[in-house]
Subunit: 445 residues, 2 copies
């Protein structure tokens, strides 16, 4: 019986045209990473469960794809999950990178700048724009706490989206500001609940956020104090000025302000175009507890699709693998969402096509040998071509060329064999001209 031709839900096949567009995104990103001295690494698709578990919260543990140990019997008799599975599929690139840095600490020089472009897997419920297999493109600098790294990341984000023609808003915040806010409203120990609630302001509005905060046990007096933050307006400078007063009694909060100010002042002093995109957003938290300084998120201005890039600074990510006090900062570009944005806004260059410039028509064995020889000349000039593999009916061969959008068809029939020529038909204009075989490659060059 034939197996059904289908794939697991939430996964995708990529056909050639989509592949070529995706590769355009990857190449653009990668070029700019390389220009800034970030070097490629790759880690295995599988990590041990001890590397992955407990790093992404309870939900993350649940969404990990676990791999069954080899050599199990066909029937499993009452076993704890952990006895039949020791490995899982990579859930993001950050935790494997932390593991990598610790494992290879003696082989790399710090500060270590790496990029990594690989798929990750999550057992999320599949829905529009959310897949169970998707690519992340990460850059991180590890082993340096200098804010110049944040500047570089902001500049890289700017350069990449400029090159991709996507208009963006580049939101930044700082975990120390969030900690300061929790502190001055007397709820330092509720930092996570507060940031999660703040994070939802845009989506669910101030009333629901208030309800949520109350439900988490935050007293209404504290929530009252928080209100100015929840309704904070104005440009980044005005927000910073407000925070300076609001956080006057929090040393941590003040440190956060100094860090954010540094970024704005640096960019101002070099008249950076990043400033047009950059805004301080105190509601930005990104849910990830490992951030300790800058928090960064990018949204596309012209499509509502959620964040297309995000990251931040983490002062102790490698600590979980036994290497403390190693500060890092990085961002991750979401290639799948960037693809969706570019597709919706029609931003891919016109010349990304799944075609070759030339197809040789096949009239039979002798003629195909001549076509083969001419193809070798094209190869020497880096010109792609195909030879139709069989001497099928001419109509079939021309139909194929048309369907594949091949602009030139090269014809070598009796007459051309005799004269040592090739007839070249322009499939768009319909014009046809005869070229000497010795001048064929030059014609396309």
């Amino acid at each position: 019986m034939a197996s059904q031709a289908s794939i697991p839900k939430g996964t995708r096949d990529f056909l050639p045209l989509v592949m070529i567009k995706r590769n355009f995104i990857f190449q653009t990103i990668q070029e700019i990473f390389l220009l800034h001295g970030y070097l490629p690494i790759e880690t295995p698709a599988m990590e041990t469960l001890s590397t992955l578990m407990g790093k992404y919260g309870e939900e993350g543990d649940r969404l990990l794809f676990r791999i069954l140990n080899s050599g199990l019997p066909p029937v499993i008799e009452t076993k704890p999950l952990k006895e039949i599975t020791e490995k899982g599929l990579r859930y993001d690139l950050t935790v494997p990178f932390a593991r990598f840095v610790v494992q290879h600490r003696n082989e790399i020089n710090f500060p270590f700048k790496r990029y990594q472009i690989q798929p990750v897997w999550r057992g999320d419920r599949p829905q529009k724009g959310r897949y169970r297999e998707f690519y992340q493109c990460d850059i991180d600098v590890i082993g340096s706490n200098a804010l110049l790294n944040e500047i570089e990341l902001l500049n890289i984000i700017h350069l990449i989206f400029k090159k991709l023609n996507i208009n963006i808003t580049l939101k930044i915040n700082n975990r120390k500001i969030l900690a300061g806010i929790a502190e001055v409203i007397g709820q330092a120990n509720k930092l996570t609940d507060i940031t999660v609630a703040i994070d939802k302001i845009e989506k669910i509005g101030i009333e629901k956020v208030t309800e949520e905060l109350l439900a988490k046990g935050i007293p209404s007096t504290a929530i009252e104090k928080l209100k100015p933050i929840l309704t904070l307006q104005g440009n980044s400078e005005e927000r910073l000025a407000f925070l300076e007063t609001f956080l006057i009694n929090s040393e941590t909060g003040q440190k956060g302000i100094v860090e954010v100010r540094y970024l704005f002042e640096f960019l101002n002093s070099v008249k950076s175009p990043v400033l047009q995109e950059l805004e301080l957003d105190t509601s930005l938290a990104r849910g990830l507890n490992y951030y300790t300084g800058a928090i960064i998120e990018v949204k596309a201005n012209d499509v509502a699709i959620g964040s297309i890039c995000g990251g931040g600074r983490y002062d102790d990510l490698t600590g979980i693998f036994g290497m403390p006090n190693t500060s890092g900062v990085g961002v991750s570009f979401g290639a799948d969402r960037i693809f969706d944005v570019m597709e919706q806004l029609n931003l891919f260059p016109e010349n990304l096509q799944t075609t070759v410039p030339v197809m040789f028509v096949n009239f039979g064995e002798n003629e195909s040998r001549q076509a083969f020889l001419l193809q070798q000349e094209l190869l020497k000039n880096n010109i792609s071509s195909i030879i139709f593999p069989s001497a099928a009916k001419l109509k079939k061969q021309f139909d194929y060329a048309n369907k594949q959008h091949i602009p030139f068809v090269a014809i070598i029939g009796d007459k051309e064999m005799e004269n040592h020529t090739v007839s070249v038909k322009n499939m768009i204009t319909g014009e046809q001209e005869m070229i000497e075989q010795t001048k064929f490659a030059a014609f396309f060059r």
Copy 2:
């Protein structure tokens, strides 16, 4: 407690230098695929078990990595394996490609030429040169039974290994010749046992092969008839001449000879350099039952490492997914073994390095702003650079540049800030010169 920093056995991390060398291989392969009109596709890492099971023999089924269904309880109570796992990791690229072709038959034009470069996973016992995660680089033409496709594949193999500087032997055989051999010794129904035994001749010698054939129930009279094949000597032309007589009574065998002759004659008539590498090897079987015509295998001449590329023609691969009579032919390049060959023979180009041409020394905030501005000029000229992120001690910064093999260090101190210059130190010669900032990018261009 800190997790241990380690990865599952049989898997690997790739550090930057190795990545750059691997990418060189992938790019070389990919360029030549594209020049012949092969287009990229990708399929998901996970396939349903019904797609994978039964396609790779019993051993294959055992070596598949299965993925646990989501949402299982922490303790599994007596369950058949198939109830807790419905998906598996890709075991090769051929079966997913067959599934892809059937699933997308209405979206693609035949003959369809695709390439695919992705990792595959097998639960083999890890050993030197054998990994549980490794990359395959496959090309296939599907929907054409013309032998011109085989010619093209042989030529592509030749071009790729020439470009990689690897001396190869390109062995070919034909399944119809193997079937003919089984037929004329009166053992048509033992084709698989015979080819498996023939396949081992080089490794275990004629006596052991004879034992194995006897054990499989092949009578000694038949084995006696097989002897001339097992000891076949001479060049490809002599072997073909022998086979023509030997297989005189097998129609299938004669067809195989005609196919092999076609390849040699075509290549002869175009004076192809492939001929220097090509040899007919009747002991070549490659164990895969789905081959129906050409069988192809490549060995490196200067390193003993097994096959580095292989493939063949299959007339009914898509039949298992309900689309019969679709002939295809393809080969797979083993990137990991090719890497090992190139590393052992020192074949990678010298200029593959993990370095950038320029590092800016960091003397503090003002100076780093100036460095940032000059870096933007380099970026406009596609020149990579890094700015040391903090104003660390000079010795530390120069040590870093040395360890990273950075050839030029750009110094912007007090004097240079004042004069609008940059001092550029050549880290190899030790020479240092002062350049106007306006001429800095031009210096590196």
